[in-house]
Amino acid sequence: MTMAPQSTQDTSLSGIFFGIVKRDVRLAWSQGGTGTMALSFFLIAVTLFPFGVGPEPQILARIAPGVIWVVALLACLISLDRLYQADFEDGSLDDLALSPLGLTGVAAAKILAHWVSTVLPLVVISPVLGMLMNLPDGAYGTLLISLLVGTPALSLIGSMGAALTVSVRRGGVLLSLLVLPLYVPTLIFAVGAVDATAGLVDPTQPLALLGAASLLALVIGPFVSAQALRLSLE
């Protein structure tokens, strides 16, 4: 079949990219969005640990980096469920797939929006939780750096899982099953860095490895997400 071509208006790819980012950040923080949910979960879940392991300051200080990181990871995970599913359910995914930006670019924009809207607030609030968990004074800086460097990997890897499970009813459990094993290296390097600082050791090496993990996730995350999203359009 043939169709005659026709001239089209010029498009601005960066305009599209940041348009999607703004749209998703806004939706995440509007009614029914996941931004507030993940933040509340983060706060509540961390405060459970002193109840669980006892309030001794030394014990809390020892486990603080791990607890904050694990709970941040879980908070990120529960918000990933809706990353593409809302768009899939209301038909917006059809529009996203037709954007001149291409689905890989769209996925990248949505991942960035997820990180900004949902994960960044966790990073910002983490020093408060550090205080609750009696984190050693010197470790706050490394905790923040490790979260800033490492959490993009959480959004990027999680996006692949979210895209794979987008058409699955109640895909949240399946999503955790797919994504959590892939989170292991990020968690190890991040907590390794904070623990190193708390033990007065140079955290550069684990931080560098953490950055490498995030970069690798950046390379494959949007592309794999786009491939998985294509499946749900068929």
Binding site: T2, T8, T11, G15, L27, S30, D90, G91, G102, L233
Partner: protein
């Protein structure tokens, strides 16, 4: 897989209706042209170039409206239109173009209301509105007339005629030609005789 010996050409200013009962593959063919589905054996040409899915040229040439209304309930109609325009062009939608588009389907008073308060008919018209404010040469419409009253059918027909007169192209999957002249493909004629799946037997 789904069709056999199906072939057609669409020139500027032409309208093509896809007819057939539910499950005959009207929607599938539309989604195939839109690039959502992969073509197994067969070609889709634009001028002299093959058209493949994910092609930027493809996405800049067409708009698609399917069964789902692709509206965000928490956003107003205006905001929904803004988001869609930005998604497709990277630019802001012109207020005049938007007001004109809303006027076509009698949605002017609803422009600044959140979509969650809309009835299903209003949502459908809000979805059709995209054809008026997004300037694209090829329109792919899946059951555009469902749930439209006489007045809005006329409005839609007028919109389609204007698009065709301006050299646009439309492919519409519907059993309901709404008074606009167009060619017709009956999907029944292209049902596959041999299923590819039979290779498993």
């Amino acid at each position: 897989m789904v069709f056999e010996r199906l072939s057609f050409t669409l020139d500027p200013g032409e309208l093509l209706y896809l007819r057939g009962k539910n499950g005959s593959g009207k929607s599938t063919l539309l989604r195939l042209i839109a690039g959502y589905l992969r073509i197994h054996g067969g070609t889709l040409m634009v001028g002299d170039d093959a058209w493949w899915r994910g092609d930027a040229a493809l996405s800049e040439a067409l708009i698609y409206a399917g069964h789902d209304n692709a509206l965000k309930p928490v956003l107003t109609l205006r905001e929904n239109a803004r988001e869609l325009t930005r998604l497709m062009t990277g630019h802001a939608v012109g207020d005049v173009a938007l007001a004109d588009a809303a006027d076509v389907f009698g949605l002017t008073g609803l422009l600044d209301q959140p979509v969650r308060y809309f009835s299903s008919g209003q949502r459908h018209r809000s979805n059709l509105m995209r054809f008026a404010y997004l300037k694209r040469p090829l329109w792919l419409m899946d059951e555009p007339t469902v749930g439209l009253d006489t007045e809005n059918r006329e409005a839609l027909a007028g919109l389609m005629r204007a698009h065709l007169d301006a050299g646009g192209m439309i492919i519409a999957a519907t059993h309901d030609p709404i008074g606009v002249e167009g060619a017709m493909i009956d999907m029944r004629d292209y049902q596959p005789k041999v299923s590819l799946e039979e290779a498993w037997l």
